[in-house]
């Protein structure tokens, strides 16, 4: 019974907060632009990114090394996603302390590190297993 009340209260609080958000959204300039970008976000994810990830997974993530391969793709993909703005931002930064690093180089460094660690994981595991025997 108590959990039922908590559940309803949580749902009601959710509706109130979302209502505040929707109300604030109605007041911003260029609501049409926001709605287009909201729809675009769903389409980009559901029609492009998710099928692409599933396709890559079904092709590459299989067999005995599926764990490390999936890990490498996941970590490398996450690092790439986080790096996209600093890699692709067009135009000159506002001053030399904004985007001060060599991001293409750093991004490649992280990917190499991911590849090396992922390749070592199965090796280390095999050694650990044979020691235990």
């Amino acid at each position: 019974m108590r959990t039922g009340v908590t559940r309803w209260l949580t749902g009601a609080a959710g509706l109130v907060l979302a209502g505040v958000g929707a109300y604030r959204l109605l007041g911003v300039d260029d609501l049409t632009g926001v709605l287009i970008w909201l729809g675009g976000a769903v389409v980009l994810h559901d029609v492009l990114i998710a099928p692409l990830v599933l396709l890559i997974g079904s092709v590459l993530v299989r067999g005995g090394v599926r764990g490390p391969v999936r890990g490498a793709l996941l970590v490398g993909g996450a690092l790439t996603a986080v790096a996209l703005p600093v890699l692709l931002r067009p135009g000159k930064p506002a001053n030399p302390s904004v985007l001060p690093l060599d991001y293409p180089r750093n991004w490649l460094v992280t990917l190499v590190a991911v590849a090396v660690v992922s390749a070592l994981v199965p090796v280390v595991r095999r050694i650990g297993r044979s020691r235990r025997r």
């Binding site: 609080a13 959710g14 979302a18 911003v28 970008w37 976000a41 764990g67 996941l74 904004v98």
Partner: protein
């Protein structure tokens, strides 16, 4: 009517409620931290009238911590959000598409949640790189979407509560009903998601958590880059001030006993030192050593009443945040300075030469540079 392609079939075995619950609770935690720290930032920058005088100026590192957490939790959501969506993606094609009014509402609320969450995380990340390719203003939309995401997450938790409870732990009844042979593969996936969160955190968090600055590979800021050893947001050139001539500079203090002070007169007043961070709303922060005149001393000089608010006006001719205000908690804090020196050197023009405000527990945009006037209000 069902085509041969729709609905598609999913051979992956981890699109299940246990995987969704495991990743979902981490994403929920990241969103909760991000929302609450975002609210703190919003209140500090746009104080509601009833709170205005009472915002605390301590702890000195308060805003540095909360805004660092805000950006770090948002970056943690970059792998968590797609991972969560991956686990439930097959449900997008559930057939029949709509079974009842309740089902339709549930799907609608999930659509709102997905749209708002993806756009919120993406706009936040791009803002840290000062990249604004969208037609709408960033701050009000990011703020409105935050409420929309927080509300739809709560609603989603309420709707899914029975399933979440049934799959909360490895021993929960729902989890035990899933095929046991999927357990090791699921743990391997969850370990990979955890590693992804760790990797994006370690390569970016050094922009505010300076002990990790050596690993700062992908953050838009680095603590060691900037004049006086401190990053800059708006330069003197961008603010339209250039180099202010020291012999022509005057600080005007408007109050019951108005006065105007030359730079030499300011240097002649008792100088105090403070170790305070610049903490930017975009997430980077760095502590620095400031030397200058206490604002409270200037207020006493001008005969300001104890609870007076203070307006700080910059000499800059361009840009937002030319004027900032502070309540008496900030104005009377002994660490609140009109700084003349930074890290042992005279301020550089980009850091606000000749005089800038530095106060504890305050967003960087309110640390007004090139200060020309202090006004005692009410």
């Amino acid at each position: 009517m069902r085509s041969r392609l729709l609905p598609p079939e999913f051979s992956g075995r981890l699109h299940d409620a246990r995987t969704a619950t495991s990743i979902g609770r981490w994403l929920g935690l990241a969103f909760a931290v991000c929302f609450l720290t975002g609210l703190i930032s919003h209140v500090l920058q746009h104080p509601p009238g009833w709170l205005d005088g009472d915002l605390p100026s301590r702890p000195t590192w308060g805003y540095r911590l909360t805004q660092g957490l805000h950006v770090a939790s948002g970056i943690a959501a970059v792998p968590l959000l797609p991972a969560k969506l991956w686990t439930v993606y097959p449900r997008l094609f559930s057939w029949p598409a709509v079974r009842s009014v309740r089902h339709a509402l549930e799907r609608l609320s999930v659509a709102v949640l997905v749209a708002a969450a993806v756009l919120e995380v993406a706009t936040g990340l791009m803002n840290t790189a000062q990249w604004y390719p969208w037609p709408f203003p960033f701050v009000p939309v990011h703020y409105a979407l935050a409420w929309l995401v927080a509300g739809s997450v709560l609603l989603h938790i309420a709707v899914k509560a029975p399933e979440i409870r049934a799959h909360w732990s490895r021993r929960s009844p729902g989890t035990l009903a899933l095929p046991e042979e999927d357990g090791p593969d699921r743990r391997s996936l969850l370990a990979a998601v955890t590693a992804a969160v760790g990797a994006v955190t370690v390569t970016t968090v050094g922009q505010s958590f300076t002990p990790l600055k050596g690993f700062t590979l992908l953050a838009p800021r680095h603590p060691d880059h900037g004049p006086n050893g401190l990053p800059v947001n708006r330069t003197a050139a961008a603010a339209g001030v250039g180099l202010i001539a020291s012999d022509r500079y005057r600080l005007t203090v408007v109050g019951p006993r108005a006065c105007a002070l030359t730079l030499d007169e300011l240097r002649g007043l008792p100088q105090y030192e403070a170790e305070l961070p610049i903490a930017c709303v975009e997430g980077w922060s760095k502590s620095a050593h400031w030397t200058g005149v206490r604002v409270v001393d200037l207020l006493d000089l001008a005969g300001a009443p104890r609870h007076a608010r203070v307006r700080v006006v910059s000499l800059q001719t361009r840009g937002d945040y030319r004027i900032s205000e502070m309540g008496h908690e900030y104005a009377r804090d002994p660490l609140t300075l009109l700084a003349l020196r930074l890290n042992g050197e005279e301020l550089t023009p980009d850091h606000g030469y000749p005089v800038r405000l530095i106060a504890p527990n305050r967003p960087g945009v309110l640390q007004t540079k090139w200060v020309g006037r202090l006004e005692v209000l009410s």
